[in-house]
């Protein structure tokens, strides 16, 4: 968490421990803080305060947005939803359940080898019974940014509700719900140095939102449950700070990212994933042939580098990342992936450490890999 977010939250754990639903003065001070946070978040997104609903995380926001639009659609006999193959599981699994249990039809658009879907493809997929298009703003694993404004325009024209999971984008690249023609948007605080376990659902005025947690009248009857004031305040502070420094942070990150990429792509038989022309400033995703990602992560961790991978072993399933498979990588290559997420708190020294450590660890693992040795002897063809 950012220092700003921690400092913002502390008074609400201690002195101003009121419940915003209470009439007494401590409760009312909490209520004021809640509404100030709502206004701040709205301003950062180009939304109105009454279009902001506080939730417990990005996944909850995704679930509510999709289920709400689906139920509204079903009431009009519209049971077709469009999305992409590489959405977050909070989206894909929700769609899967709607398909399985409620008879929805789901079209998952191809994201191609560059990890970008086009507005024309969305347009071509829209049918008279389409009730929702849900496409992520930026991919969480490979960092590719989608043409959200154009997709939003296509949906607006076809009068189809458009939701975007913007968890990876908000606070990092400019996101404006009005300019981008967005009806619903999900975000999560911990992606911009806010606390974990708090998020936002933006829902444009005029788009119906159905509550999925019934109870009290919180969040204008759309999301019951006592508000997590301290975290909401911290989220708003973190978002404000990220948005205020977005340009300088991005410039710093892009420089660092590109330096790391330039060095790591020197590793033979490696591949950089995702279209770099449409990309988040701080995300790097690469594959190294002949090795498996988990070993890479454990050895990098020993060197003080916290990374992640799309290998099956790191996910606890047998298949590697659905995102890497969606951009057409073969299973054996997808197992050897590495994802680095840089933030403005990283330094050029961190980048130096990454640049020194990754080639070393890749070589070490390749030296004990039967797959790599067969490739080097020419018994097996290199894929990358």
């Amino acid at each position: 968490m950012s220092r700003t977010a921690i400092d913002a939250m502390l008074p609400y754990l201690d002195k101003i421990y009121g419940n915003p639903s209470s009439l007494h003065s401590v409760g009312q001070r909490a209520k004021e803080a809640l509404e100030a946070a709502r206004a701040d978040v709205a301003a950062c997104l180009g939304a109105k305060p009454n279009e902001i609903y506080f939730t417990s995380c990005g996944s909850e926001s995704d679930n509510q947005a999709i289920r709400s639009a689906a139920h509204v659609g079903a009431q009009k006999g519209k049971k077709h939803i469009i999305s992409t193959t590489f959405e977050h599981h909070a989206v894909l699994h929700t769609l899967e359940r709607l398909k399985r249990e409620e008879g929805f039809e789901v079209t998952l658009l191809d994201v191609h080898s560059n990890g970008v879907v086009t507005a024309d493809e969305v347009k071509a997929a829209i049918r008279p019974d389409t009730c929702l298009v849900t496409i992520m703003y930026a991919n969480n694993e490979i960092g590719t940014v989608q043409p959200i404004r154009e997709i939003g325009a296509v949906c607006r024209e076809a009068k189809v509700t458009f939701h975007t999971d913007a968890v990876q984008a908000v606070g990092h690249i400019p996101v404006n719900v009005a300019d981008d023609n967005i009806d619903m948007l999900s975000l999560s605080a911990h992606k911009f140095h806010g606390p974990k376990g708090t998020g936002v659902l933006y829902c444009r005025n005029g788009v119906r939102l159905i509550p999925f947690i019934d109870g009290g009248a919180q969040e204008r009857n759309k999301r019951a449950g006592t508000e997590n004031i301290a975290e909401i305040v911290a989220m708003a502070a973190a978002l404000k700070e990220s948005c205020a420094h977005m340009e300088e942070n991005a410039a710093k990150l892009v420089k660092m990212r590109d330096r790391i990429i330039a060095a790591l792509t020197q590793i033979p038989h490696s591949k950089l994933n995702g279209d770099m022309a449409h990309h988040l400033p701080g995300t790097i995703n690469m594959c190294f042939e002949g090795i498996e990602g988990e070993g890479l992560l454990l050895l990098l961790d020993d060197k003080g580098i916290c990374a992640s991978s799309g290998s099956a072993c790191t996910s606890g399933s047998l298949d590697p990342s659905h995102v890497l498979l969606a951009i057409g990588l073969p299973h054996e290559v997808a197992h050897g992936s590495l994802r680095l997420s840089l933030s403005e708190y990283n330094t050029e020294e961190d980048a130096d450490r990454i640049i020194a450590a990754v080639p070393e660890v890749v070589e070490y693992l390749r030296n004990m890999s039967p797959v790599w040795k067969e490739m080097e002897r020419g018994e097996l063809k290199h894929i990358l």
């Binding site: 070993g295 050895l299 197992h335």
Partner: protein, 144 residues
């Protein structure tokens, strides 16, 4: 709690018996790259004793640690004893593996059997075929 035991991490960080044996008497390879695990074990045999053993593994931390531990457990042992090595024994020697990683120890057991079978086949040694069931690559064994 950490993902792996100290022992798994030790065998992963400092794997024993890594390498190839160019004039191996038997080589066993199991797993497939699609699933993210391949183990290749080389053995040297003299008078029914496994005098040397090396491995190469493409796989996660527990696959590398399982290979390392399994080779340690059969090195210098008679073939008859190596054939008795179970995946459970490998996992126990590593102070346990997470349930969803038990298949790594299964691969280690299978790779050793495959290497011994290869040694038998190459040397025309008769053996009971029921001792060497074909490893089923489609079936993942997860034991608690």
């Amino acid at each position: 709690m950490a993902l792996y035991s100290e022992k798994v991490m030790d065998h992963f960080r400092n794997p024993r018996n890594v390498g190839e044996i160019p004039d191996a008497d038997g080589i066993g390879e199991v797993g497939n790259a699609r699933c993210g695990d391949i183990m290749k074990i080389y053995i040297k045999v003299k008078d029914g004793i496994i005098t040397d053993v090396k491995f190469n593994t493409f796989g996660c931390g527990s696959a590398i640690a399982s290979s390392s531990m399994a080779t340690e457990l059969i090195k210098g042992k008679p073939i008859s004893q190596a054939l008795e090595l179970t995946n459970k024994a490998v996992a126990e020697a590593l102070d346990g593996l997470p349930a969803y990683k038990m298949h790594c120890s299964v691969l280690a057991e299978e790779a050793i059997r495959a290497a011994i079978k290869d040694y038998y086949d190459k040397n025309g040694i008769e053996y009971d075929k029921s001792q060497f069931p074909e490893p089923d690559e489609d079936k993942e064994i997860h034991e608690d």
